[in-house]
């Protein structure tokens, strides 16, 4: 292990410990802010797996956020289940929805795929608007006090000595943080396996990858299903915090897909630290330009365009190129012993 990697790992652990300690040491507003950032980070990591590694440029991720959130609301309101069980059901519902969606969208190539997923997400939005038990087009709220009755909230309340609402915030925050960490580690481990290598090979050259036995369809389908599950979990968790749902909010293409795309692109698409860098840039921009209405969206759009024109691998790509530091490298060194030693040949030209 190189010194930079050791230093990086130590810094990562210290940072992570600080993040986990936040509900105990920081005011509730900070925890809520961080929750929002983590939500976008989880969504961005999922989209990065899809678009950056599997070559599936989806503009329909809001479908999974919305389905996850609606399934969670249904589990709480109609089935009277615990919200945390509702979150799990949300993730599973999103994964289940991804199967018929994939059967349709995978028939479409490239750009068609982007539009196809967008249309499917819009169908899901309009269909949820017809679900009268959950308020139809105007939506519904979680019953009062639902979050305070969640499993574990009572314990947190006593240990941290805070109000029930703050304890619920802490719990959802820890869950979102854990989801982000698990996702990052799982992505890294997955991309270092045979399947992950196959995925990257496929992205770089599908024909060549197929010739050495990579099955693109199977790999893509798995990534689509798993990221749907992650996105659904994230959506359900986010809407526990929001406590109110409408079809337009739950299936918002701007909130759940456009931001996420810009975050990933600006940070560095196709690299694991990219979304982390991107989400920090996004948050800083949003904060700096908070008083100027939608200007930050314009800046975000321009930044995204500039990155695509001049630095396709994003800010993280620029950083790695300049410094040679890559915290979660996905490149493999060629095996030394396998390469045949070529005899010196006479140059003819």
């Amino acid at each position: 292990m190189t010194p930079t990697r050791t230093a990086g790992l130590i810094a990562a652990f210290v940072g992570l410990a600080a993040l986990y300690a936040m509900p105990a040491i920081a005011p509730r507003a900070v925890v809520q802010d961080l929750f929002g950032i983590l939500t976008l980070l989880v969504l961005a990591m999922n989209w990065n797996m899809l678009a950056g590694f599997a070559g599936l440029v989806s503009v329909g991720q809001q479908a999974f956020v919305g389905i996850g959130a609606y399934a969670m609301f249904a589990a709480i309101i109609l089935l009277k289940l615990d919200p945390l069980l509702g979150v799990l059901i949300g993730g599973l519902a999103a994964a289940a929805f991804s199967v018929p969606m994939a059967f349709f969208a995978f028939r479409l190539n490239g750009a068609y795929f982007a539009i196809g997923t967008w249309v499917v997400a819009d169908i899901a939005r309009l269909a949820m608007g017809q679900w009268k038990a959950l308020g139809g087009g105007t939506g519904t709220s979680l019953p009062k006090g639902t979050t305070k009755d969640m499993v574990g909230v009572e314990t947190i309340k006593q240990v941290l000595d805070v109000s029930g609402a703050a304890a619920a915030d802490a719990l959802t925050y820890w869950l979102m943080l854990s989801l982000a960490v698990v996702l990052l580690v799982a992505s890294y481990v997955f991309l270092r396996t045979r399947m992950g290598l196959g995925l990257q090979a496929m992205r770089d050259n599908e024909t060549a990858a197929r010739s050495v036995g990579v099955d693109p369809l199977r790999l893509k389908a798995w990534v689509f299903l798993l990221t749907a599950f992650g996105t659904g979990l994230c959506g359900a968790l986010a809407f526990i915090q929001i406590t109110r749902i409408t079809p337009d909010a739950a299936f918002s293409v701007i909130d759940w897909t456009a931001f996420v795309i810009f975050i990933t692109v600006i940070g560095g698409i196709g690299s694991l630290p990219g979304p982390v860098v991107g989400v920090i840039v996004f948050y800083v921009l949003q904060r700096l330009l908070a008083d100027y209405g939608t200007i930050y969206l314009i800046v975000l759009g321009i930044l995204g365009i500039v990155v695509m024109l001049f630095a396709r691998r994003g800010l993280w790509g620029l950083f790695t190129d300049r410094t040679g530091i890559d915290l979660l490298p996905l490149t493999h060194r060629p095996p030394r012993s396998v390469a045949p030693v070529l005899p010196p040949t006479k140059r003819t030209a």
């Binding site: 440029v57 028939r107 293409v253 314009i298 695509m308």
Partner: protein, 287 residues
């Protein structure tokens, strides 16, 4: 009888969608560029017509004549300075650049014109209707449909009867070989995007006179337009018109059952057509 009326109204609505889609279809057919900002560019053109009409006190039908060359210039600049740089084998950069452009235009319009909904007023023609046997047709919807047919016809003439059209087709089929024959793809692409935005301006005229618009409605129009292009088949302009009609009729039929089902039925028609014919109804090019 109700059914005949509904289908006729759907047909006319399809004309509007075909107008949204014709420019998109042209650009997509020639350079495989998916312009996610197309819907917002249509809305921008509507504001441009509105601005010219108000500033010079002109009828929207006259103002559009001034707006069209401006939009052509914009399309030319957009293609030469931005889009030509990102076209290539990788579909991600053009998608993301036009997506960024969409957000920039949408929020720029919001800053400039607020979220208030606006309308282009065309005067007494808006309320006029003609009676054709059992059905009554609004003059404006009829005019929209006829314009869509005229635009598709004109684009087809351009495509198959002129030197520029030959260059379009050659570049679409094989850009490298076309270059060997003295065609500069970048220039051909710039012409195509310019023409696409002229068509977008015509679409904006009918969009703005038909109903209210505000800066946020671009993406929904984009979605209908893309559905029309994809259903119609890549590179076929008449196919795009047919695609627009399929979406329009499906929406009208859905709305006649329950107004909430209008957009949903359009989307479902799109999914059904693609499940049966993944390459659309009349695909021209292999891709």
């Amino acid at each position: 009888m109700m059914l005949v009326d509904t289908i006729t109204q759907g047909l006319l609505l399809g004309g509007l969608y075909a107008l949204f889609a014709a420019g998109l279809s042209l650009v997509f057919g020639i350079m495989r560029l998916v312009n996610l900002a197309h819907g917002d560019l249509i809305i921008m053109a509507a504001y441009l017509i509105l601005g010219i009409a108000m500033a010079l006190n002109l009828h929207p039908f006259v103002a559009v004549l001034l707006a069209a060359p401006i939009m052509f210039g914009l399309g030319w600049l957009l293609q030469t300075h931005l889009l030509n740089r990102v076209l290539g084998a990788d579909i991600l950069p053009p998608l993301l650049v036009t997506f960024g452009l969409s957000v920039v235009i949408q929020n720029g319009l919001l800053e400039g014109f607020t979220a208030d909904s606006r309308k282009l007023t065309a005067g007494s023609i808006e309320a006029q209707a003609v009676h054709l046997g059992p059905v009554t047709l609004g003059v404006m919807p009829l005019l929209t449909f006829l314009s869509a047919v005229a635009v598709v016809f004109a684009l087809n003439q351009l495509f198959y009867r002129t030197a520029l059209g030959r260059a379009f087709r050659a570049t679409s089929d094989d850009a490298v070989t076309a270059q060997l024959m003295g065609i500069r793809p970048q220039k051909v692409f710039a012409m195509a995007t310019g023409i696409a935005l002229v068509v977008a301006t015509i679409a904006a005229l009918f969009l703005g006179t038909r109903a209210n618009f505000d800066p946020s409605i671009g993406p929904a129009r984009l979605l209908y337009a893309f559905e029309a292009v994809i259903i119609g088949g890549l590179g076929s302009l008449w196919g795009t018109l047919a695609g627009g009609i399929v979406i329009g009729v499906a929406q009208a039929l859905g709305a006649s059952v329950n107004p909430e089902w209008q957009i949903l039925s359009g989307h479902i028609a799109f999914v059904l057509v693609l499940l049966l014919r993944p390459r659309g109804l009349f695909p021209r090019a292999n891709d």
